[in-house]
Structures are given as structure tokens and as C-alpha cells.
């Protein structure tokens, strides 16, 4: 689908304007809605504090389990709701293809960097928005990563990612039992979120601002 973009020019400001114009015409929600989705996304991540280094790197060290608990709960609840929404025609599937090499190599690189940076591409910008300069440096590294990926996509990365083995979903593997599979998946994933033992690694810089009797690490 080509989107009609009228703004001319190739300087940075024109291209940012073209970005907004593209979103207005691509039919995935109004510009205001997409912006609002971003605000809520940033607000939830900030308010739950999962953008902190101590949460993701803390999970890598198995000293904090807030991120997996929140992620699994969100997935468990959404999977059931979304399946019935799709069946009722209120949403569509957007399944990513199974590129074995891409998923294995990409997932490995992603896991290594997530443990070291202590952020992911969604939580990183929220950290920058609350003043974390080290994450800004990480984002600049990310821009160079994006540059290299774009420059060598056709010659190097695309062949390395391999051929698609299809866009499968779990329910499609059990024809005739789709509803049961969805319910079991949703309930099991939600239960995983609940039974993962709650552990927290706190940041002394945040705790020191609190009076003694309000510190979550002391009661």
C-alpha cells in the first residue's frame, strides 16, 4: 500500500512532516489517536517503573521479577480478549513470519543487549524522557545499528535471516479445538504471571527520597 505524501523536500524537518502526513493517510488510526497511544504507553511504563535498569537488568540477574510478571499478565489477558475480538470482526491478525535464523540470531543479540543496557526499544525512550543520559548514548548506538541494518539489508541481513517458514499461530495447529487452545493458553500464561515469585531490586537513589516508614524494602 503506497501512502500519498505531498510534503516535498528531503531535509530533516520536511521528512518529519512527511512522517506525520504518512500516519494521517495510512489508515491506522488518526494522528491524535496514535499520539495518544504513545502517551498512554509511556505513562504505563513510567508509572510502573519497568523502564528502570534495576527492573530489566535486575531480571537478568534474577533479582527482580516485575517485568516478566507484568508482561505475562498483559499477554495472558490480551490473548483471550483479542481472539474473540478477531472472531467478531473487531480486529485482525498481524502475524510475523517464522524466519528461523532471524529469530534465533536476532533473539540472541537482543537478549544479550537487553541484559547489558537494562532497557528494550520500548522502555529506553521512557528512560531518556526521565533524564537518563547513559540510555541516550544507547539510543545513539541504536541509530547506528539501524543505519548499518538499512545499508546492508539486501546484501547481508536479508539472506542471513533466511526464508519464511510461514505465519503460524498456536490455535491453527489444533484444528477443531481452537477455542479450547486459546482459553488454555490465556489462563496458563496468566497463571504463570501470578505464580512467578515476586522479587524486587530497588534503586537506593529512589528510596532515599522516601521517609523511612514508606520504604518498600523495609516493611
Amino acid at each position: 500500500m503506497d501512502v500519498l505524501v505531498k510534503t516535498e523536500g528531503t531535509d530533516i524537518l520536511s521528512r518529519i512532516a512527511q512522517m506525520f502526513e504518512n500516519v494521517i493517510h495510512q489508515g491506522h488510526g488518526s494522528l491524535a489517536l496514535v499520539f495518544l497511544i504513545g502517551i498512554i504507553f509511556g505513562g504505563i511504563i513510567q508509572y510502573t517503573r519497568v523502564d528502570k535498569f534495576e527492573k530489566i537488568a535486575g531480571f537478568a540477574m534474577l533479582k527482580d521479577t516485575i517485568v516478566p510478571k507484568m508482561l505475562f499478565l498483559a499477554v495472558g489477558l490480551t490473548s483471550i480478549g483479542l481472539y474473540y475480538m478477531i472472531e467478531a470482526g473487531g480486529a485482525h491478525y498481524h502475524i510475523k513470519p517464522i524466519l528461523w535464523q532471524g529469530l534465533l540470531i536476532g533473539g540472541t543479540l537482543f537478549g544479550i543487549s537487553m541484559a547489558i543496557l537494562g532497557k528494550c526499544p520500548g522502555t529506553g525512550p521512557i528512560s531518556i524522557a526521565e533524564g537518563r543520559i547513559d540510555v541516550l548514548i544507547g539510543a545513539i548506538g541504536g541509530l547506528f545499528g539501524g543505519l548499518v541494518f538499512t545499508l546492508y539489508y539486501d546484501d547481508f541481513f536479508k539472506p542471513l535471516m533466511g526464508e519464511s517458514a510461514g505465519k503460524l499461530t498456536l490455535p491453527s495447529l489444533f484444528p477443531g479445538h481452537e477455542h479450547m487452545v486459546v482459553l488454555i493458553f490465556g489462563v496458563v500464561v496468566t497463571l504463570i504471571a501470578i505464580v512467578i515469585p515476586k522479587k524486587e531490586l530497588f534503586d537506593e537513589a529512589d528510596l532515599s527520597q522516601l521517609p523511612d516508614d514508606e520504604r518498600p524494602d523495609r516493611n
Binding site: 512522517m19 534495576e54 499478565l73 543487549s113 526499544p121 544507547g138 541494518f149
Partner: protein, 167 residues
């Protein structure tokens, strides 16, 4: 340190995912890594006509770009007025405790891991948002493979990279 409990965060995030997927919302998943090469294309002044990847991501890249602007505003406002956690810092407390006290070391590793992270996410076709949250919510097999690999590698890396033993 005002904050929401994890279960409230999970419920709210689920509501946001359903709104975004819904035809009354954006009729697409939430993603948060395609915007990086999209912005790289703009900042390094690459011609989208010349690079096939920039052509492929022009729609999702711009969508996520606008969402990112919203996320920066949402994150900034929440950190200033609600959690009051806004402050400039160069090195996280957890890094000092479990890695080292060197700002230079933190900035070096930040740059390197940011670089690798985007290459990894784009090779896999998604990140924590696009694969783990949006993809697993659709019960996509590709996202479950990604989620499994990432969970294992994150824990192994954490064990090897940090001095995990309590000091």
C-alpha cells in the same frame, strides 16, 4: 516513589493493546523498534528510494515514530508530576552495585548494546513490544520462539556479565 503495582500495569497494558488492535483504534499491533531504522534513515539522510528496507518500513516506521513522540511526552510528564523520578544521571545504581563505578564503562557498554539491540530486533522482526506483547497475544509461533530465546539469553547474559553475588 509513587508507582503502580505490576498487576495494574499488566491490566492497563492489556487494555492499551486491545485498543490498538481494535478496528476502532489503530487496527495494528504495538511495535517499538521499527522507528529506529526509520529515524536513522532521516538523520543520516538516506534516500528511501535507494534503500529497499526504508521503503518496506515507511508505513510502520512513521506510525511508530509518532507513537514514540507520544511516549516521550507521556514518560516525561509522568516522571515529572507523578513518580517525581526525573533527574539527569549517567550511571544506574544497579550498575554501580553489580558491575563497576566507571561512567565511561557504562557509556561504552550502553552504546555497544544499543547498537546490537537494534540489529537483533530488526533481524527477528520485532522487540519486546512487537514480538513479546503483541505477537504472543496473537499466539504467533514466531513470537513464542523469539520470547523463549530472549528469556534464556537474558538470564545467561545476566549471570555472565554482572557480579551477581551479593557484596
Amino acid at each position: 516513589m509513587n508507582r503502580l503495582p505490576w498487576w495494574m500495569g499488566g491490566i492497563l497494558m492489556s487494555g492499551l493493546l486491545l485498543l490498538t488492535f481494535s478496528v476502532f483504534g489503530a487496527d495494528r499491533p504495538i511495535g517499538a523498534s521499527t522507528y529506529v531504522p526509520y529515524f536513522a534513515g532521516i538523520i543520516f539522510d538516506l534516500d528511501p528510494e535507494k534503500y529497499s528496507y526504508l521503503k518496506d518500513i515507511s508505513n510502520p516506521g512513521s506510525w511508530e515514530g509518532v507513537m514514540l513522540f507520544g511516549a516521550l511526552v507521556g514518560g516525561f510528564v509522568t516522571s515529572v508530576f507523578i513518580t517525581r523520578s526525573f533527574r539527569f544521571s549517567l550511571i544506574p545504581s544497579g550498575w554501580k552495585k553489580y558491575k563497576n563505578n566507571s561512567v565511561l564503562s557504562r557509556l561504552f557498554w550502553s552504546f555497544i548494546s544499543g547498537f546490537i539491540m537494534i540489529i537483533g530486533a530488526r533481524m527477528a522482526g520485532g522487540c519486546t513490544s512487537g514480538h513479546f506483547m503483541s505477537g504472543m497475544s496473537q499466539m504467533a509461533i514466531s513470537s513464542m520462539i523469539f520470547g523463549g530465546v530472549v528469556l534464556v539469553v537474558v538470564i545467561v547474559t545476566g549471570r555472565l556479565f554482572y557480579n551477581v553475588k551479593e557484596k
